[in-house]
Amino acid sequence: MISIIHPSLLMIVGAILLPLLPKVFRSAVFIIASLAGLIILWTLPEGNYLTLNFLGNNLILLKVDALSKIFAAIFAIITIMGGVYAYHLKDAVQQTAALFYSASAIGVTFAGDFITLFVFWELMAAASLVLIWSKKDKASAKAGMRYLIVHLFGGSLLLAGIILHISDTGSILVEHLLSKNSVANWFIIAGFGLNAAIPPLNAWLPDAYPKATVTGAVFLSALTTKTAVYALARVFAGWEVLLILGTIMTVYGVIYAVLSNDIRELLSYHIISQVGYMVAGIGIGTMIGVNGSTAHAFSHILYKGLLFMGAGVLIHATGRSKLSELGGLAKFLPITLVLYLVGGFSISGVPLFNGFISKSMVVYAAGDIHNYLAVILMNIAMVGTFLSTTLKLPYLAWFNPARTPCPPDWRQPVGRGSGGKEKPDAEIKLNPIPINMHIGMGLTAFLCVLFGVAPSLLYQYLPYQVSYEPYTGAHLVETAQILLLTFFGFWVFRKKLAAEPLISLDFDWFYRRPKYFIKRLLVDGVLSVFDKTDKILMKVVNTLIYFGKNPGNTIAILTLKEPSAKYFDYDPNISRPSTLLIISGILLVFVIIIAVVVI
């Protein structure tokens, strides 16, 4: 018993030591700590360990079974890959946060009780927030604040659910919940669902991830949503609402991705779409369904990490992230293109890549329960995934005929080599790419292909023993037909997909737009009343002043619509008649008074 170490604990110790080490060792220690975490968790025997008594409850810090092990393993693997990709980073804050984040995600997967789960859940939110704020610009500061508020809300839902659940049942164990009449369960599923980005609780994801740091986004893309998928699989397998929402998610994300302009926003919407498959698989709840979700989470973390790494290289090299501002990079970043496309083929489910062997499992599970609407929608989502991630994004970023040839001075310092000709991007130069970024991508791409070619490497560790063979003739033909004809559709209408500098409203409208109305009502409204009052008063005062200076102007003031200063200064032509009138009037009054007195 003594020999059991919690892998998260080891990684947290690493994270705490990291900032104390000299700069040169930090990246290496990051990788070693996550590698050690992976080795430890993989050698853990199944069972419950590290139980401790807390306020009369027995906490189980380490509950190991097939489901938690495979999820924890992939979290550790992507942390290693991300560590290689971020090896050049000299920012202890980000490195510590990333390691903490990953350790917490692993902590969630091994949590045997709801209290431990909740603590790690919140640690994860805090650590991931640092990766957004580390970008240190205004957009990320604001997006990070929204991310924080939304996740605090999600955490509150979860906590409320847990408290209700404990008071209802007296049990704190993380176990399969069945009762659909229990309010507690709906609170918990909403808390999990927020982290899984299930609409309408999805908007935080495409809002925050594109604003994270280049390396931070790799960890973000892998951990938060997939821990939620794990939690849903553990607790809510077989809930039909998840099948419905998951299927909607697959298409929802894809449609937004067609419209996205920011490359990481496009990829973020594809996270929602891909997580939709996993949520749907959990909703199906059969053994093959849960297996499919688990396998797809495993594959997804690899290829989505790879795609975010590729997008990160583009941003690192050009300082730009919008498709409407990118183009013609094929000559400069060919390796990145190839590695990105490995990720693109994987997410699209091209045979021999790892998406093919896992996504099809979920679709198969939906067909198995004769839910053909789900099958159709999931296949539509596959079409859209191929269209946006694998065709549109590389086409616009690396080729984009509207922007080729790429200005030759993208590599030159500012102001040189323009040669008098008009070059729209003359001010841009390409930053050099650290070699470790490509190594990180290469390793991840290798894993994507490895599991695609040899699926049994993954299948043997899935939670249930079921036989499933992705490489059948029918399945190959079906996939090939869908993807190839999608390509032709894309090629015919590729001009229609040109990126436009617009943003897409999502459910974040409901908490971002009211700010505008409230500002108009409470700030702008009050200010404008104040402003108007001020103007009117000043006008009155000015008029009185000029009246006081020269009462002869009264008529002029009353007759002229816009009394301006020049009419108030002495002008015989204006003042004479009115002065005459006033004096005549006064004289007349005197005459009348005298007349009255004398008579």
């Binding site: 067609v258 079409v383 037909q481 209408f493």
Partner: protein, 72 residues
């Protein structure tokens, strides 16, 4: 597109289309009656792709896309 790329693509498409008539349908793979139509998935891919592009770019766009300074 370069010529060899086009030829490869057309060849692959041809194989996948013709291949359908030579493979036997997986008895374990339970499918609906309509998916057995010849070339169903090819049509599905092509039509689905075009539908997605036009739905997103002409309908959904009007509903959700705004200027970049919309929230500022």
């Amino acid at each position: 597109m370069k010529r060899w790329q086009l030829i490869t693509l057309i060849l692959l498409t041809f194989i996948s289309l013709v291949g359908e008539f030579f493979i036997e349908h997986d008895p374990n793979h339970s499918t609906a009656w309509w998916s057995g139509f010849p070339l169903f998935w090819a049509l599905f891919g092509f039509a689905g792709c075009i539908l997605l592009i036009f739905f997103a770019k002409y309908v959904f766009k009007i509903l959700v896309q705004r200027r970049e300074d919309y929230y500022d």
